[in-house]
Assembly symmetry: C2
Homo-oligomer: 295 residues x 2
């Protein structure tokens, strides 16, 4: 990671953490442990990648990425809800996430389901209250984020993932699964940043293509890390894909071939930014970083 | 139920069912059984009360209730998601709902969690696409619906309900619990209809008060039905509140006293409509109907 990117992420993560702290309800009149359960997982050490991508895309367009923190915080709440539900006993049944006990291990299964539901719902309330953006732009952004994480996006991908466990699936299905399960929210984060910042049609198209390559490179490097990674750095056990007989780029190809496909995807991402100047350097650094990430 | 109300409900239910049929995605390219699981619970015989309330409130203001079917359909999807998650083994662990096997009994626990998540998410996408309404009005409506069903609304009420099972709680807590768990979404449905239809400030205030009385009367009659109701008509076992040691108006008072409080709440609801003419007759009939409902 370049020093510029490191400093950028430090600043944006501080900004989004501050906003999440302000926005997430504290102990209310009655609702008991649910507010605590929501905060537990939101502040369990996430990298805030989706908010950072939103802000970096907005910065590439108008340099005002930090103005869109309501939508950025909403993205992080949605991401957190998806992790809480993925970890449930009925789903992946994980006891640890980022080195900490998962939500249902701390608060019980019923409260973990509700905390996830609450984060997903609250995200839409918070995003709807984003100030200083034209209402019709904000409405389009919210509908697009909802579509990205709904039955034809993230939740659909999760359903397909469950459905295909232990089955032989081909490259086309793997690509579809990843696009839905993780790619769609990355794409929506980047497009949301661009739209909120008032990107023109061509800029929006370029950033959309960037997001496709970014999502692909992210997923392949994720698959590689599950084989070559270090449990302490990852904060989760390695080898779980193979244990769960999940179809991945590595199970389909070799680690070396997967690395080379990831490299091509990053080149593709950089190429989509050719009409942007230095204002898109963070997006460039983020794409290049994927090839060296260790968590 | 008066004939006018019966005919009104028949028309509006047909209208909302048609919209739900159009809006809910059918079998897609890959996402497998999740779309079927969503449809299963949406079309499992709901009374569509929240959409009907939205349309009746809009009709009381501008007579164009049927124009707001995207938001109305979203309300029904949100209500359905809440039922699917409430019925889960980790929550109320119910095998039947409206006389049919619950979602997780048919599709399994993991798919039921995801189908609920998908309906909640998809609701926000659909509501965000409501045509023919000013963007800033629609944004306010969506944020208000999200608030009504979030951690300080419906989900918070559900969390408190779990938390207080088997405990002695007082009237103040019961009232708070019901307001959050069921009242908030009724209120949001009625206010959404009024706001979408362009209600003035005083009309909106009157309809808000109406919704408070309506929600209270609904909850009390619900508690009474759990004691005096007929399982075949209700589509669910009676006596479950007492079995689960849930605090209700009936456990706190007697059935007769609870009936008399419900009657007062309905009078209160009617009184809030005193500045409305016959255009609010459906709202009046709906409130009165609560006293004679058997399911």
């Amino acid at each position: 990671m370049t020093d510029t990117l490191k400093e950028y992420c430090r600043q944006k993560v501080a900004c989004i953490d501050h906003k999440l702290e302000l926005l997430l309800p504290k102990q209310g009149q009655y609702p008991p442990v649910i507010l605590e359960a929501m905060r537990y997982s939101v502040f369990a050490g996430g990298k805030r990648m989706r908010p950072v991508l939103l802000m970096a895309a907005a910065d590439a367009v108008n340099g005002r990425g930090e103005e869109y923190t309501h939508v950025a915080a909403g993205l992080e709440m949605i991401h957190t809800y998806s992790l809480i539900h993925d970890d449930l006993p009925a789903m992946d049944d994980d006891d640890y996430r980022r080195g900490k006990p998962t939500n249902h291990k701390v608060y019980g299964e019923a409260m973990a389901i509700l905390a996830g539901d609450a984060l997903l719902t609250y995200a839409f309330e918070v995003m709807g209250r984003q100030p200083d953006v034209l209402s019709d732009v904000l409405l389009r952004v919210i509908a697009e984020i909802a579509a990205a994480v709904g039955p034809l996006g993230m939740v659909g991908g999760q359903a397909m993932d469950l459905f295909s466990e232990g089955k032989q699936i081909g490259l086309q299905e793997i690509e579809y699964l990843h696009k839905a399960k993780t790619g769609a929210l990355f794409k929506a984060s980047i497009r949301a940043g661009a739209m909120l910042a008032g990107a023109g049609e061509e800029q929006l198209q370029d950033l959309t293509q960037y997001s496709d390559y970014f999502g692909l490179a992210f997923q392949i490097t994720d698959d590689i890390l599950d084989v070559t990674g270090n449990q302490a750095e990852l904060g989760k056990p390695v080898g779980s894909d193979s244990k769960n007989q999940k179809a991945t780029y590595v199970s389909l190809y070799s680690v070396d071939k997967a690395k080379s496909i990831a490299g091509e995807a990053v080149d593709g991402a950089l190429n989509t930014l050719k009409f942007f100047g230095p204002e898109a350097d963070i997006l460039r650094d983020l794409a290049k970083y994927l090839l060296s990430r260790n968590n």
